[in-house]
Amino acid sequence: MNESLSQIFIGTLLTNNFVLAMFLGLCPFLGVSSRLGTAVPMGVATTFVMLVASVCAYALNLLLNYFQLEFLRLISYIVVIASSVQLVEMVMKKYSPALFRALGIFLPLITTNCAVLAVALFQTAREYSFSQSLVFALGGGAGFTLALVLMASLRERLQLANVPTLVQGTALSLILAGLLSLAFMGFAGLGAGE
């Protein structure tokens, strides 16, 4: 598809937001979004992993196609992602231990974040060029962070509100997510051409 870079970015950030429109990255979305302080670093860390994964996936894909080993695609992508997450963990532990502790278990869980693997798989399926893939990963990560920040802000506010016990927790998050998703549907058609 001959999409321009800005179309890809806006499309992935708003119209086809990874979390609110394509249902990717929901586990961390529901798990980490209770506080703004953890939401932003999580989003940034995930975006970084997505960029690394995107570059590696592009290179891997060229290799796999050359040697006609397409059936190894899924395994190689996931191994690369797991390694990138290990790398990010080690770097964060060294340079920002407080942040590392704050994110806790959710950092290694970036490996199982479907959004990261989805970036790699989708860019391969849509046959994006290198720059298109990078922009796609950036848009995806930014969209994920945007959704996280919105959710965290809403949930922080709601902690002071009178919510019935039954609704509290995940059910409330899902209803909030539904409303956000409904709002984001308003972006549909953005950048669709003349």
Partner: protein
Amino acid sequence: MSLPNQADEGITFDTFMEGVWRQNPVFVMVLGMCPTLAVTVSAVNGLSMGVATMFVLVSSCLLVSMIRHLVPKEVRIATYIVIIATFVTLVDYLIQAASLALYEALGAFIQLIVVNCIILGRAEAHASKNPPLKAVVNALGMGVGFAIGLFALGATREILGAGKLFGITLFGDNFQPWVVMVLPPGGFFVLGGWLLLFALLRSRKEGKVQA
């Protein structure tokens, strides 16, 4: 020397039912959400995804359990991931060979089964510590629970959003489909609704036991 643990209890009915009711991955543990919401626009899609995930879950847990004594603990997560990815690749090809229409409907989410937290979680928490038969029964229970969850969601969204079930139109011409239900926001709302229902049922049950 192994410490006394669940492995010594043998296989009970609870081993199976644990995944279906008490620890249902969709309604109780709220895990593996991505495919749950994305694919359940119809009952058939939900069910197929549930069955595909169950296949990967059971085969992965079987293999993990069979080699559990051989795998050193430092590399266990990496090993489990490779095993799961293998079975997902298998399922991917099997579905393509069986029905291309179904493959188009389920889309990328077949390959995304590999990052479904349920499978890695079960492999780590249960299959790596139990003999093969017990691991398989437990995985089957989880898989069935997951499939039931996906089916419930898919059916609700299809009935409300398209007025059909399994493609069979249920209502007359006057029915105005609640289209948002088959769109992303609807997925969130319907799952939230089901969770509310389950929370209600559980609190009633606990209320009766305490009183």
